[in-house]
């Protein structure tokens, strides 16, 4: 590698992408032994916190399209991690729920992922940890209002 940081390291966008990439790599690393991908885990975690979420809601929560989430859900259902009613109770929305097996699988994953999060925060002081939340929330808000 030549020399680092002519201008890139002064770009917050690049830094954000770099951090996100590092987080993804670290998560994949701890989830792989459990036979789980990041999206896989995200889906289960979302369902644990808000049982009955629909396919589209899960997709938004995991930052993928509803089509992608649909194929994941079909696999998770086939393997017995989640259940969906055959027919929609109301409208077309199929509320999804974790099975006991899904819950057990999630528990191990949560421990692993939490360790990554702890590591990520380990270099930050208390005020900086609070600052991280505030700053990221501000960025998200600013990026989403009119382009």
């Amino acid at each position: 590698m030549s020399q680092d940081g002519v201008d890139l390291k002064t770009s917050l966008g690049y830094l954000l992408k770099e951090a996100s990439s590092a987080l993804r790599v670290a998560m994949e690393e701890v989830l792989r032994p459990l036979g789980m991908t990041v999206t896989h885990y995200s889906c289960l975690e979302l369902l644990a916190q808000r049982p009955g979420l629909s396919n589209s809601e899960l997709a938004r929560g995991a930052f993928v399209t509803r089509q992608s989430m649909n194929v994941l859900l079909q696999a998770l259902e086939r393997d017995g991690y989640v259940t969906r009613p055959a027919a929609a109770p109301v409208g077309k929305v199929l509320p999804t729920r974790l099975t006991p097996r899904g819950r057990r699988s999630l528990e191990k994953a949560t421990v692993a992922v939490r360790s990554v999060e702890v590591r990520m925060l380990s270099g930050l002081t208390g005020p900086d940890q609070d600052g991280a939340f505030r700053i990221l929330q501000s960025m998200i808000h600013s990026l989403r209002e009119g382009g």
Copy 2:
């Protein structure tokens, strides 16, 4: 959508992913009219800042595999945005450079992307902008040392 934020909004990992996703969406939005993807732009920007970068170095800088970067480079070379020598001057490394056309194309994209970055920072005070850099760099560093 049910209710937001039982626990997810208190997870810095989730927030980081959310911010990164919002940034990606915003960048795709301004780059699409220019017929450019984010990875496409990243590659050109890297080459502008450090001419002569190899395929593998570009891949690391854009956070993709060298195989993915290779197919992108082949397309960019075919379309006349970059050039690579037919034979390696030393070893197997093929130094890549922007063509005038690539430079022109990048200029427009840089303006568009910079506007996104400005928007992202618009809600932050000066100290918070400095804090953002320091915090993200700390996270990256912590995530990369031994898992």
